[in-house]
């Protein structure tokens, strides 16, 4: 029941926001998303007491081919839902003090997207999961289309079609799995239980079908070409949703729907996948160094970080998996902070060009501090959340293959290069005429960045709850993956 409430509450909220009119929309949306966050915290407390059993919900939906409305939240899903429900009020709060045309549509789409994203994370039936996966695409497309930058039309269409292509390949994979699977169902328990019974000749290309969908979503090089432009053209809240949460759909799916379901495929093709991920880390980092546009720089840095997350997943050991979970949460928080800082800079100076800015520290000391904390989290300084994630991930990849971890470790060095150089160019140095008009943080900006900064440091110092929550689920996934 709890899961049902957590899932459908944002949908109801979305409709209420739509009917509340342009002036009130942002406040109504914020109100409901905070309530949703409170409910999720309550669910966390219930989980600590009684475990995952209290969160199952099962209802027959379609008789043939059998699709059931099966929801469940184990530790991994709960973490993802917590991330979603924590970031959504932050995202909504970041949109205050900005003029948004047709605000009710904007916030209704954001809350609707929250609904679809939660659905992806709690679905325990393959096709129900697929429906939510595709459903999440619709609101973000319209957010980017109606409220995006000048080049948005072609860019968003490319994003939509590219992602849809991956999704359709995954649908094909699901249908084939349904027929190969002796139990003929999409239910996750059946898929896990029969994973070894599907012939490994089929598992190979099934692996590639699923991997295609997730690789496009995450994105993993070479399927990343849609990402930088889409992040740049989408409005800030859209980019935050995309980079903060939607991308986690892809990495979560690697954990939940790829590794345990086609283990023979992963055993055969996993090495290639992990090499792709590590190549992506270095490639994206190098491109990020060359970027002059702030949003594109953050987009490429995001590709590098999630490349490391994916590499950790394919390393198939407990450190890698734990690291990927922690880094998913950390990256979600950090990237939302980064893009919000980019939005603040654009809002004040109308420019995102790294060369043209400078010396903002002199006029906006509060912003300087917050931005620094977020950047340090992204660079993975010890005591920030990024450090825990990256350390575990590199350790996991090291256990898999030493040379791969050396190349993956370049992300730390290169990450420091582009992030710190960007920070130096934008914040330090002399104020010029573009930046001298920089007003310091307004109330909602301080609140958002403050909360994010606190989370970055707290998670970096005390990540234990995350490990505890994720461990049972990850153990199950790892067991399934290593069955031959």
């Amino acid at each position: 029941m709890m899961t049902l409430l957590i899932l459908f509450f944002p949908l109801v909220a979305s409709l209420l926001v739509l009917f509340s009119g342009n002036k009130l929309a942002s406040k109504v949306a914020l109100f409901f998303s905070v309530i949703e966050l409170a409910i999720t915290f309550y669910a966390y407390l219930i989980y600590k007491q009684s475990g995952a059993e209290s969160f199952y919900y099962f209802k027959e939906w379609i008789a043939d081919p059998k699709i059931s409305f099966h929801l469940g939240m184990d530790g991994l899903s709960l973490l993802m839902v917590l991330l979603t429900n924590f970031l959504t009020p932050i995202i909504i709060l970041s949109a205050f003090n900005r003029t948004i045309e047709n605000a009710k549509g904007y916030f209704a789409l954001i809350t609707f997207m929250q609904f679809a994203l939660i659905g992806v994370f709690v679905a325990y039936d393959g096709l129900l999961y697929y429906i939510f996966w595709e459903l999440a695409l619709i609101p973000i497309y319209f957010i980017a289309l109606r409220w995006g930058g000048p080049n948005r039309v072609n860019v968003t269409l490319k994003f939509f079609i590219y992602t849809l292509a991956g999704s359709l390949l995954m649908l094909f994979g699901f249908i084939m799995l349904y027929y190969y699977n002796p139990s003929h169902s999409f239910d996750i328990r059946d898929l896990y239980a029969n994973a070894s019974k599907v012939c490994s000749c089929n598992q190979s290309w099934l692996f590639w079908l699923f991997f295609a969908a997730f690789a496009i979503k995450i994105p993993i090089v070479p399927f990343h070409t849609w990402q930088a432009d889409t992040y740049k053209e989408a409005p800030t809240q859209g980019t935050m949703l995309l980079a903060g949460i939607m991308l986690k759909m892809g990495t979560y799916s690697l954990l939940r729907w790829l590794v345990p379901i086609v283990p023979a495929g992963v055993a055969e093709w996993g090495p290639y996948a992990i090499v792709l991920c590590v190549v992506g880390i270095v490639y994206a980092s190098v491109i990020a160094i060359m970027q002059k546009d702030l949003k594109k720089l953050f987009a490429y840095s995001s590709v590098a970080h999630v490349g490391l997350i994916s590499a950790g997943i394919f390393a198939l050991n407990m450190q890698g998996l734990q690291g990927s979970v922690v880094q998913m949460l950390a990256h979600g928080v950090n990237v939302v902070g980064l893009f919000f800082c980019a939005d603040i800079i654009f809002n004040r100076t109308k420019s995102l060009n790294v060369d043209g800015l400078g010396g903002i520290r002199n006029v906006a000391p509060k912003f300087n501090t917050m931005f620094m904390i977020v950047v340090l989290g992204s660079v993975a300084l010890p005591l920030t959340n990024g450090f825990i994630g990256e350390f575990l991930l590199l350790f996991g990849v090291y256990e898999y293959n030493t040379w791969l971890s050396v190349f993956a470790g370049l992300t730390i060095i290169l990450g420091a290069v582009y992030m710190l150089r960007m920070f130096q160019n934008v914040m330090l140095g002399n104020t010029n005429e573009t930046t001298s008009v920089f007003a310091d943080l307004k109330w909602n900006e301080t609140l958002v960045l403050g909360i994010l900064a606190i989370v970055i440091i707290v998670m970096g110092v005390y990540p234990k709850p995350v490990f505890e929550l994720a461990e049972p689920a990850l153990k199950l996934i790892l067991n399934n993956a290593l069955i031959k």
């Binding site: 081919p65 429906i131 269409l157 939509f160 390949l169």
Partner: protein, 442 residues
């Protein structure tokens, strides 16, 4: 006719709808109750009851739209509507035939009514062209059908479907039979506008008045597929392997050509014609898997496709009337001018593209599922890839509505249009969420 004599034009449409509702009720009474009529020429079984019910519902939706569509030109409205009801009658015969002669009768009643309606805008060159083209090519195809029926009679000695099926299952099939079957196949492929017999479809859809196009792209296509399925499932199923390769090539060509050619269309009706060809391709995918009994999937897909199309056409008719222009650019800026209509058209386009949670997605999913279950893996993969292509042209319309600049003309609609649009939208979403209402009917 009665109405025209008594000049009771105002109650014409309500009377028709009342009549159709009554027929629908009587139709449903025949559920699970197989009956034969006219010396076993017509067999009413669950298949025909279900499809006839669907046809009646679609007709009701279109007739509600017709009241306002013909407001300016209402001198002959009773004639137009009478002809459309004849077409419905032909469709019902096509669903319930049990004798080749009945099949021919049904197809002719349907087709002749539509030849007339396609050309019904008498002072429009394009409409005349559409009617004439449809008539010429359609009659030619009917000729093929008749020749095929004659050859099959020559081979089997009967027009009756059950006797022909017995003949086929006994083996020793004469070559004349195969020729007859091929000719009938050609005729049916023409009627459903499958490649390479689809060339009439875009011109006819573009030239006909928009309401008639809506009727053609929904009811006629479904009727043709219903008849196609019934014919081949009942009579020719035992020799299906002989035409498997041909059907596979036709299916693949239809899906690919329908989607790819739609990419470059500028006229909205033509775009829907080519998209209709691609949907015919997906239905052919269901047809080619008929050995496993895919009637359910085809019914569900047809229902979903028809509802989304009628919703789209309802919005389109309003836009065409206001802008006096039938191209995609007529939709420019509709998002700002009339957000409700734009949202309705967007949701219809999303359903046609096959995006969850609308009924179009589940329809495609069922057809793909059934096709894979019957071993058509390559064709399903081709269909899947082409679905991606399809998204592009459906989104062209959505993009025009939301990103292009509008000119000042107002677009508004009457109550009946809004009612139909809402019904279609609600059905699309409801069937997408609760498909078991219409699945597993037979």
């Amino acid at each position: 006719m009665v109405v025209e004599i008594l000049d009771l034009r105002k109650i014409l449409v309500p009377m028709i709808i009342l009549g159709l509702a009554t027929i629908f009720y009587f139709n449903l009474e025949d559920w699970n109750h197989v009956q034969f009529f006219y010396n076993n020429m017509i067999r009413v079984d669950n298949f025909s009851v279900a499809f006839s019910g669907l046809a009646i519902v679609l007709s009701v939706l279109i007739f509600v739209l017709s009241a306002d569509f013909y407001k300016e030109d209402s001198r002959h409205i009773s004639d137009y509507l009478a002809i459309l009801i004849f077409a419905l009658c032909g469709a019902i015969v096509m669903f319930s035939f049990w004798n080749m002669a009945m099949l021919f009768l049904g197809i002719e009643i349907l087709s002749i009514s539509l030849y007339i309606m396609a050309g019904s805008k008498r002072f429009d060159v394009k409409s005349n062209e559409a009617g004439f083209k449809y008539f010429l090519m359609g009659s030619f195809a009917s000729g093929f059908l008749l020749f095929g029926i004659a050859l099959i009679y020559g081979a089997t000695g009967s027009f009756h479907l059950a006797n022909i099926a017995t003949y086929v299952s006994l083996g020793h099939i004469s070559p004349m039979f195969y020729v007859g079957m091929m000719m009938m196949l050609v005729a049916m492929l023409f009627k459903v506008a499958a490649v390479p017999f689809h060339f009439w479809s875009p011109d006819v859809y573009e030239g006909a008045p928009a309401l008639v196009t809506a009727y053609m792209s929904t009811l006629v296509k479904i009727a043709a597929f219903g008849a196609f399925y019934r014919l081949f499932y009942v009579t020719f199923i035992s020799t299906f392997d002989s035409i498997n390769l041909i059907l596979a090539i036709v299916t693949a060509a239809t899906i690919i050509l329908g989607n790819v050619t739609a990419l470059s269309q500028l006229n909205f009706k033509r775009l829907l014609a080519y998209s209709g060809i691609s949907h015919a391709g997906y239905l052919m995918l269901g047809l080619i898997s008929m050995k496993g009994g895919t009637a359910n999937a085809m019914f569900f897909y047809s229902a979903g496709y028809a509802i989304a199309t009628i919703g789209a056409f309802a919005v389109a008719i309003l836009v065409f009337k206001a802008m006096k222009n039938e191209n995609i650019e007529a939709f420019n800026g509709l998002g700002k001018k009339n957000p409700m209509l734009a949202a309705a058209l967007t949701l219809s386009m999303l359903s046609l593209a096959g995006i969850p949670p609308f009924v179009g997605f589940l329809g495609k999913y069922y057809i793909f599922s059934e096709a894979i279950r019957n071993g058509q893996i390559t064709l399903t993969f081709i269909a899947l890839l082409n679905s991606i292509v399809g998204v592009y042209y459906y989104f062209k319309v959505i993009l025009a509505m939301y990103t292009k600049e509008a000119n000042e003309t107002e677009v508004s609609g009457t109550v009946s249009y809004y009612v139909i649009i809402s019904i279609c939208l609600l059905l699309s979403i409801a069937l997408g969420l609760f498909p078991d209402m219409l699945m597993h009917l037979f």
